[in-house]
């Protein structure tokens, strides 16, 4: 656990970057620091591994003040990922990843073996290990950055806007990858971003900081969205807060109808205005309207029980039928969520 | 003072304008000629060559390789080899110095034009500049700071290099050094060094001034930051 105890950072010229920050980043969770530029989020992060030293107050790592630890020793036990990855251009990828193991005096062969294992873990082809950083794309470099931070298996990981320099598609895949890794590794992660959507997606807890380095709110994403502490947080969260909150409502309780599906090659004529055509192996094919049985209309799917209500609603809006198709993990249709069923679930979500 | 060796000031006063070819004044004039001609000549040659290297990229690699070699060759043996062609004249000093200047300026021109941001070039194209007007009105002005930085290097090193020419009797102020060595006497050495460094500083200062006048936007941007 990382504890901030009334931490203040004041620079000689009088600017206060962080002002009396007190919070805890629990073990095994992702704590996100988010806020506009100048809110001291990066400064706060960098005080944990003493890249910057606090002026007042203290930061504890599992109860031990970091101030008492020699900075290089402290840093070797904390993974650190930064925006441009900061890979060493003169070293091959495998040696970049093995940097901290080498520093810790590991045997060269063992360090390299560990590096290869991590490259695979972050989803990189082992053929890339022999390359130099300039031969990799931005997204690949960022994955190497994460692998490098994990190399000595540190319990704590500090990530300073690690995904902000890559394009949105790559960013999304890196975020998913991080969540997948975290499910396996259970690190204590502190993650800094200026992107509230990223914070909500990744954070177990989100600390919203305001300019001047003061904590505005610390909460889990769902609470943050439903119950912002003040106007600053509300404005920072932006519009469609309600829709985004649906991300945290499960579809497990969503009522599905199984009587609206028909086999492929079906001739028409049910009592319902819409029917879902399903292939022989159970995959959805399209909607047919009662009036025009020969025209397949588009459909949207969600994984029942795993995806959020936001996905279900989105799936419903993709189809002229107004219904969302619930599928299982293998993509087989398990049932259809009608407008009525969605309505019910939304009403429940609004209450809770 | 009387019988002792003359002080520097006395020596200067006595030798400033004797009417002979080796008066300090005449040496200064020679020195200026032999350094200014290569500076201007190398600029005049380097500009079109640099432009050509930008226009036809494949030219740059061999050109810059050649210029690297030229730059690495010491001046004295080149003066000596040229004597058999151009004799003991100022030309013998001017030709190699021009080549050294080109070795610095061609890359400077190429880098300068390379420093034009792509969006600037693109928007000039989009606004309908013809290639020639784009070069004259947009790209060259933006390249000026880099080219002038190269020119400063060329000016200062040409002024100091001329003095090696003294070893073939064409060194401008450099002759003060050979004179002082043959007839061991310190004042001419001091005067020579001071005058050459002073000339270099003046040339450098003039070029800094030229840059400020030619590219006012560079300073304005610095002032704001």
């Amino acid at each position: 656990m990382i504890t901030f105890d009334a931490v203040t950072k004041r620079y000689p010229d009088g600017t206060v970057a962080v002002d009396g920050l007190s919070l805890e980043a629990p073990t095994g969770e992702i704590t996100v620091f988010v806020g506009p530029s100048g809110c001291g989020k990066t400064t706060s992060l960098r005080m944990i591994n003493r890249m910057i030293d606090a002026t007042e107050g203290q930061i504890l790592l599992d109860g031990v003040p970091v101030q008492g630890i020699d900075p290089p020793t402290l840093r070797r036990g904390i993974g650190y990922v930064i925006q441009q990855a900061g890979l060493f251009p003169h070293r091959r990828i495998v040696d970049n990843v093995a940097t901290v193991p080498y520093l810790l005096g590991w045997d060269r062969r063992k360090a390299r073996a560990r590096a290869m294992e991590l490259l695979e873990r972050v989803g990189l082809d082992s053929a890339l290990a022999r390359r130099y950083p300039f031969q990799l794309s931005g997204g690949q470099q960022q994955r190497v950055g994460v692998a490098r931070a994990l190399a000595a298996d540190p319990p704590v990981l500090l990530m300073d806007e690690p995904f902000s320099a890559v394009d949105p598609v790559v960013r999304t895949s890196l975020q998913d990858e991080l969540l997948r890794l975290q499910a396996e590794l259970n690190k204590t992660i502190v993650f800094v971003t200026h992107d509230i959507d990223e914070a909500i997606k990744l954070g177990d807890r989100v600390a919203v900081l305001r300019v001047g380095g003061r904590l505005a709110q610390l909460a889990d994403p769902k609470t943050l969205l439903s119950d912002p502490a003040d106007d600053f947080v509300r404005e920072f969260l932006g519009r469609d807060r309600g829709i985004r909150r649906l991300q945290f409502v499960s579809t497990a309780g969503l009522r599905l109808r199984t009587d609206l599906t028909v086999e492929e090659g079906f001739g028409g004529g049910t009592a319902e205005p819409w029917a879902l055509v399903v292939s022989a192996d159970g995959a959805p094919v399209g909607w047919v309207a009662d009036a025009r049985p020969d025209v397949l209309e588009p459909f949207g799917t969600f994984v029942h029980g795993r995806d959020s209500m936001r996905s279900a609603l989105d799936a419903a809006l993709l189809s002229p039928s107004g219904c969302a198709v619930g599928v299982d993990e293998n993509g087989k249709v398990v049932g259809v969520a009608t407008r009525e069923a969605l309505d019910e679930a939304l009403a429940e979500a609004a209450d809770g | 003072m009387g019988d002792g060796p003359p002080s520097i000031w006395e020596w200067i006063a006595r030798n400033w304008d004797t009417g002979r070819v080796d008066s300090i004044r005449n040496l200064l004039t020679d020195h200026l000629t032999m350094s200014l001609v290569p500076i201007l000549l190398s600029l005049v040659v380097a500009l079109p060559l640099g432009l050509a290297c930008v226009r036809w990229r494949w030219l740059y690699q061999p050109t810059s390789g050649l210029m690297n070699i030229v730059y690495a060759i010491p001046s004295l043996p080149i003066f000596m080899l040229l004597i058999s062609v151009t004799g003991l004249s100022q030309t013998t000093v001017i030709i190699p110095l021009t080549f050294y200047g080109m070795a610095v300026l061609i890359p400077a021109v190429v880098d300068g034009l390379g420093s034009v941001p792509d969006h600037v070039r693109q928007s000039a194209v989009a606004m309908g500049f013809t290639p020639l007007r784009r070069l004259l009105a947009v790209e060259l002005p933006i390249a000026v700071p880099v080219v002038l930085a190269g020119l400063r290097v060329v000016a200062v090193s040409s002024i100091s290099l001329v003095s090696v020419g003294a070893l073939i009797g064409q060194g401008g102020l450099g002759s003060l050094f050979t004179r002082a060595y043959q007839n061991p006497f310190m004042p001419p050495v001091i005067v020579g060094i001071v005058l050459i460094v002073a000339l270099a500083l003046v040339a450098d200062g003039l070029l800094v001034l030229a840059q400020r006048l030619l590219t006012p936007w560079v300073r304005a941007r610095k002032g704001r930051a």
Binding site: G86, F88, R131 | L76, M80, S84, S163, G174, A200
Partner: protein, 230 residues
């Protein structure tokens, strides 16, 4: 084109004379001297300039020293400096000549080492510290390898300077290949002048080739980006 024929005759006369290839004024001896003086001056300059450049680049203190020395070294006339030191210290040993050689060789290495270290991407420095490298390790394992192309460029420029100045220094009594030029010129023995000049030009070119090779061997392909992206 008569000068070309004369030129060729001089070369034959110089290189074809068996007496040229032995004795204290022979080509091998002079070549060795030139190499010794150049190498000594360059080595001393590297020993002074590289640590100083690393220190100034790493700490960011003393930048003015670097800029002033670079400009001054370019402006100072080598011949004047050589004559001044010999008149001041006498010509009893080679040191009055070696000192100005080193003085002129220091600034190019100093300025390029400094610029090389200063120019390293701050993110890289940040990552290195963040991973727990100590100050010396950051310098030795990250900054120097990344700045190596510029440090070597500085050494190469210095070598050019040293080879040229060693030649000129023959005028103030130093041995080396410059002797052929100075002595030949004084005695109007143009075969000697031309032969010596050609030797020096070749010497300078070989030095350049050696530096290019050293660059290939020591600079990481990740820095020089020599490898093709596969």
């Amino acid at each position: 084109m008569s000068w070309l024929i004369a030129f060729f005759d001089w070369l034959v006369e110089f290189f074809g004379d068996p007496a040229r290839w032995s004795g204290p004024d022979g080509i091998p001896a002079r070549l060795l001297e030139h190499l010794e003086f150049s190498a000594l001056a360059l080595a001393l300059a590297v020993l002074i300039a590289v640590p100083l450049g690393l220190l100034i680049g790493h700490t960011g203190r003393g930048e003015v020293v670097v800029v002033v020395s670079a400009n001054l070294a370019r402006a100072l006339p080598t011949l004047g400096l050589l004559v001044m030191f010999v008149l001041l210290l006498g010509a009893a040993s080679v040191w009055p000549v070696i000192i100005p050689l080193v003085l002129l060789a220091v600034p190019p290495i100093l300025v390029n080492t400094f610029e090389g270290i200063k120019g390293v991407d701050p993110e890289l420095r940040d990552a290195a510290y963040g991973m727990g490298l100590r100050g010396g390790q950051v310098l030795g394992r990250v900054l120097v390898p990344v700045a190596l192309p510029l440090i070597l460029l500085g050494c190469r420029l210095s070598a050019i300077q040293v080879v040229a100045t060693t030649t000129v220094a023959a005028y103030t009594g130093l041995g080396g290949l410059g002797r052929f030029i100075i002595d030949g010129f004084a005695t109007k023995d143009y075969a000697r002048v031309v032969g010596g000049s050609v030797l020096i030009v070749l010497f300078a070119l070989v030095v350049q080739i050696l530096f290019a090779l050293a660059q290939r061997v020591t600079v990481s392909p990740g820095v020089s980006r020599r490898l093709k992206v596969r």
